[in-house]
Amino acid sequence: MSNLLIRNGHLIDPAVGIDAPKDILLKDGRVSEISAPGKLKPAPDTEIIDAKGLTVAPGLIDIHVHLREPGQGYKETIASGTAAAAAGGFTSVAAMPNTVPTNDSPEITRWMQAAERGASVRVFPIGAATRALKGEILNDYAALKAAGAVAVTDDGHPILKDSIMREVLINATRCGLSVIQHAEDTRMTQGASMNAGALAFRLGLRGMPPEAEYSLVERDIRLLAELSKDKGGSGKAGARDKNGAVPHLHVAHTSTAQAVAAVRQARRNGLRVTCEVAPHHFLLTEEHVGAYNTNAKMNPPLRSAADRDAMIEGILDGVVDAIATDHAPHASHEKEVEFERAPNGITGLESALGLSLRWLHREWKLPLSRVLSLLSAQPASLLNLKGRGTLTVGSYADVVVFDPKAEWIFNAKDSKSKSRNTPFDGWTMQGKVHYTISEGRVVYRAVALKKAK
């Protein structure tokens, strides 16, 4: 494997607090050396990237994507989805198990990571918490973990029953896995296609009430609190892994003010609860449904302005641990239908960094290192992805090199994803990715730069 020297760039590594001009040498897929500018003497066969004026940061990590393989290659493949990830600056993606068939097994988990899938970046499968995502029978978590699964979830569906959720938390914790909950009490959302409220009433659409989300988050936190208690006089066993770690609940795609508030309170109470927010939930509101735009239809739905503001507050005050896209590609024919019939979800891998920098950093003044932390160090830590999300010596050579100031227009038709279902087509982005490097290989290079060579 050849060596790569990135020089003259400004290194930001939020995990260790580096924010300074540095040169960085990548060797055999790992970070080999970090040094003051101009100090590294490359070997003759070293490829050199001149990052003058650019920011060099750990490759981004998206812990919530739908790569649609196996089974739905017409929407996305692991190859196309990870190519989109690379174009967006991501070097690791965690793939949800709602594939066809469901990722219930070590075989599918391994299949998703096999070299034949042609992934550009590292794919971390997330196993299905229950058989066929039905919320009834638990899968074999030890086997899933041994095959490479980094967490369990029924994403797209909730784990509704208290008894099952408790069992999921206990078993996952014993195996050292996090539990990711899609918090939606589906008993309140039958036939609904947008946020409940005056606008849904006005548009004649059935609504999903915010309670459907936060009531389940609150329920999960109650279960977690019970299970996190020490083995006390009650005689009831708490859930612990072999190192004594307590259960970890991660709330996927948080969209309501009350859910963020519940997570904030649970953390104050010392529980291991984390949450993620998608760019569409910190930017858009239910108003964006507009004239029944199916690219504004997702689950959880776009909420009120107050909820949107609560997502921003949660990001700014630190209760939100990760920005995750919920990248959910759908073929054009699936979205060109009546609003109520359209599938939920939008793509997000190629717009996440641009929107985060444009809005969280520039507009709401979140420091660049914090934005990058939400997109790399923190998600790596919450799914325990060792050697990822940082550029310390010895870490994986997962790097994004980008111009943090450059503005550009996102055109859905130029997307590397197989699908085009984004509400951000034509939006101004900030922060242009020049290179994405996954385990030492350049997996994305901005087109204009290629021509200049």
């Binding site: 659409l205 709401w364 509400p423 101004t428």
Partner: protein, 365 residues
């Protein structure tokens, strides 16, 4: 066209304070969709009528005036107006009044009409609304009149076909031609001879709409149109059929007590319970009748001067008694009659207003 960058107020500078993000503005939406107000007011074709929210008082006046002109015109002369033009009626739900009156309206103007209904077409075989629309266009249809069970379906059809589309009822959303014919009926009684309207034409008029508001597209179109002409609209019904948040619309009030609602109204509009859209909602019909059925006694006691409207179909013995439906205050059949004139005006506009130049960036690939 890139989206304009909206400035959302910055968080407070003090490190201890919580970010001051209250009252932030919506980040701009994609080109072609207004960020605020009526998102469904946008149309591709000026002849389309998808929502009453796109109709200004001036446009409503034009439609009312045109309806009267066409109604009074010599039938032979009228039939030359759209002679041999082609109009498709695309009906995914059953209909008596709306379908027949649109058809008679189009034929009265000389147009050829064709009816496609979901039970006798390729729709049954799984053809999408987009493909059915494109097929009708390829067959020469110059406008499509659509009834569909999904709210918002007319926007999809218009966007994909770029033909003028008349919304003949979409799901629980709107039924604009019904609101216009209701308006014509109201004006005939309250403001005889008036065919032009302004923001104050119905000032002092109270319209009480009672029944299954939640599932009613007729209620929504009336609720969105009448207050903009000065009317006060009172909604009446039990919470499962009339959620509190209905009062969030401008000019709309909720009155749960039926006699009190009647007592304030010059126009009493009754609605049917839409069994086909209840979606598992359990309703005690006897209880409902006890509280909300319109009877001769109630009408005499609380609204002796009011006129009664109902968009149909009426269910005698449920939301109103047969006596009331046939009684002297009922204008139900006059509404039906007015439907033809209003729909002639809508069909005529649909085929004669010039198409707008396409907005370059808004055109989807």
């Amino acid at each position: 066209m890139p989206v304009k960058s909206a400035t959302v107020p910055r968080p407070s500078q003090e490190p201890s304070a919580k970010p001051a993000l209250k009252n932030t503005r919506v980040v701009p939406v994609q080109p072609g969709t207004p960020a605020n107000g009526a998102p469904d007011a946008t149309t591709w074709s000026p002849g389309s009528v998808l929502s009453v929210t796109s109709l200004t008082p001036e446009t409503v006046s034009e439609i009312l005036t045109l309806a009267t002109e066409l109604e009074q015109e010599d039938p032979l002369k009228r039939a030359a107006r759209l002679a041999k033009r082609k109009i498709a009626l695309l009906f995914y739900e059953s209909s008596t009044r709306t379908r027949t009156s649109f058809e008679l309206a189009a034929k009265g103007l000389g147009a050829d009409t064709t009816l496609v209904s979901s039970l006798s077409s390729s729709i049954e075989k799984g053809e999408t609304l987009k493909d059915t629309g494109l097929t009708l266009r390829a067959l020469g249809a110059e406008a499509i009149i659509l009834r569909h069970p999904s709210s918002g379906a007319p926007w999809l059809l218009e966007r994909e076909t770029r033909l003028p589309v008349l919304n003949a009822g979409d799901g629980m959303h709107e039924h604009p031609s019904q609101a216009l014919l209701d308006l014509r009926t109201m004006l005939h009684h309250l403001r005889p001879g008036t065919t032009t309207v302004a923001a104050d034409t119905l000032t002092g008029v109270t319209v009480a709409i009672t029944g299954d508001i939640l599932h009613s597209r007729v209620a929504r179109s009336n609720m969105l149109l009448l207050p903009r002409l000065g009317a006060r609209v009172i909604l009446c019904g039990p919470p499962p059929l009339l959620p509190e948040l209905a009062a969030g619309l401008p000019g709309i009030e909720i009155e749960r007590d039926f006699p009190r609602a009647l007592a304030q109204a010059q126009i009493v509009m009754m609605l049917r319970i839409q069994a086909e859209r209840l979606a598992g909602l359990q309703l005690d019909l006897e209880q409902y009748k006890a509280n909300y059925q319109l009877t001769e006694a109630l009408l005499a006691a609380h609204a002796p001067q009011a006129i009664l409207l109902h968009p149909g179909p009426i269910i005698r013995g449920l939301e109103l008694t047969g006596e009331v439906a046939d009684g002297p205050q009922s204008r139900i059949l006059e509404q039906v009659h007015n439907g033809v004139a209003i729909r002639m005006a809508l069909v005529y506009r649909a085929l004669t207003l010039p198409a707008l130049p396409l907005l370059e960036k808004a055109v989807r690939a």
